[in-house]
Amino acid sequence: MSGPDETVTVYVPRDSAARSVGADEVAEGVAATAAGRPIRVVRTGSRGMLWLEPLVEVATAAGRIAYGPVAPEDVEELVAAGMLDGAEHRLRLGPVEDIDWLRDQTRVTFARVGVVDPLSAEDYTAHGGMAGLRRALSLTPEEVVAEVTESGLRGRGGAGFPAGIKWKTVQQAESALKFVCCNADEGDSGTFADRMLMEGDPFTLIEGMTIAAWAAGAQEGYIYIRSEYPDAVATLRTAIEIAYTRGWLGRNILGSELSFDLFVRVGGGAYICGEETSMLESLEGKRGMVRAKPPIPALEGLFGKPTVVNNVLTLGSVPMILADGAEAFARHGVGRSRGTQVFQLGGNVARGGIVETAFGITLGELVEGYGGGTRSGRPVRTVQVGGPLGAYLPTSRFDLPMDYEAFAAANAMVGHGGVVVFDDTVDMAGQARFAMEFCAAESCGKCTPCRIGAVRGVEVIDRIVAGEDRPANLKLLNDLCDLMTEGSLCAMGGLTPMPVKSALAHFPGDFGTTTEEQR
């Protein structure tokens, strides 16, 4: 244990979720209260145990000792009780890495988040950063693509498309100018992992994009971040500046022949701009109207040039794959869902946050095990998995393993890994109505089934709930859903029926109907 004269290091997150419940005030309080005792407060990302935020960690001979949730008004008492020496207190949680919630996870993409100072290049390299890029630069671009393909890495943005195949298409396209674009629009309710990685370990994303640039032969990269994330925008902009001064970006990166420039662009508050072609239109300075495919962005993407488009977590997983090898990544997971997935537990959940674990964990293990049921203490009634376009599932489906194929077979989707928990006070007709309302509000307007269908959908659900000619209106709703599924250009209109139909199938009573009546 450190004596009274030795500098004590205290870690307090700067993650915006932690700040939203007082982490800044706690950090200031710790610095002020410790007057007399030499102290260093390091602002880290969050460990992802969000119900414990603000979580304070103190460096001791026995490791980093955690206290939480620490309210600003607790600080004085904690310091008086000997927190700076890791002493007992009702808020003491013990060595942070021994907290079973965290210990039982497999942190790969999130390995450094909450551990390091996100804007310290020294911390980054001391914790294994840049090893992936160094190895990539010692390989040919073809070898890098092969490594990513072998790892089995699939897109974490929702569609689950194999990353290696996309990269290969861009690599083989002939063009003097190619781009790498990172989709950081993260519009799905219940998801926050992209934000936390960008705020907690921005160099990982920069390194991943640089590896992608080497593999695909790209010269420029863009990170498209939603405007709702001002802290992530600021963190990445600063991290990019630091990366340039280190020779991690710019000309002849790490002394190699690779030159790559990276820029942050901010979205405009439109959900549809998370769809990749809409995002590309937006990056070009236009309305975010979805493009018809083909051509695919890999061949004709940003400004018509071959473009890699990947999600933050996809690109953020690449440095580890290159550093440790495809094998190390593929060892995790089940079937065709390889590696770890960063699940996000939100909504009415007792222990919400980031659960990074191998694919294959069941929905029930996530919600009841990690999540600890609802925050309200009432029974769980449903969970929505995969964002606003994902299905509502009843607790009878808690046996479902979290993997792309098993979810697809259950008329659901894993999507970006968000799991939103609702207790028994939820009105499922209201949730179905909201799904249609959201689609009507956020549709890009290009195709009729989505633009008009969603507006009609709201009206029809209102009539069903009001009890107006229920059998006819239920049939109408079903037809409308089919029309949207089949006739929409993109998944906004195409998947909005998923939450609607799943709510109706599993909770007919909330619509004033029975399963029989729906037939």
Partner: protein, 157 residues
């Protein structure tokens, strides 16, 4: 209120454009900079941008109206955004939404008569594990109770 002669709107907009014009797809960064400097995209800005960027007015107008962020009227001194997406719905966002509208006497998208607060809705702030979430200007708040919302809406605070 008298004030020192200020630069004309036109000068201001042209210098914003000058700063960003070399960027690829410059219109969005320019519109964000206009929002930052002026607080909103005054309709008078549209022809200036069209002229500077060699676009039609209709094109610029189309972009401005497509995105929720680019408002065309002056906002209040403080903008309060209430998250109304699913994860926050699950922990009482609807009640906060009603409370905010009742207390301020405005609906979403409106500004109080005294120009103090603009109330907006937002769909997810990335704080879904510890909602309900509210954003005041660029500052995020989590686990917002009705009492805390009252404090956030209190313009004298």
């Amino acid at each position: 209120m008298t004030s020192l002669p200020t630069r004309s709107l036109e000068d201001q907009v042209r210098s914003i454009v000058a700063e960003h014009r070399d960027k690829r797809g410059a219109l969005l960064p320019i519109l964000h900079a206009v929002m930052e400097d002026l607080g909103y995209v005054d309709p008078a800005v549209i022809p200036i941008l069209a002229d500077e960027l060699n676009l039609s007015r209709a094109d610029v107008h189309g972009v401005v109206t497509f995105y929720h962020d680019f408002r065309q009227t002056l906002p209040g001194r403080r903008t309060v955004r209430i998250c109304r997406a699913e994860a926050c719905q699950a922990v009482g966002a609807a009640k906060l939404a009603d409370q905010a509208q009742a207390r301020l006497g405005v609906t979403f998208g409106e500004t109080t008569e005294d120009g103090a607060v603009t109330l907006e809705q937002v769909f997810c702030l990335g704080n879904c594990a510890i909602g309900p979430s509210v954003q005041v200007d660029d500052r995020l708040y989590g686990r917002v109770s009705p009492q805390q919302l009252d404090r956030l809406l209190d313009v004298n605070a």
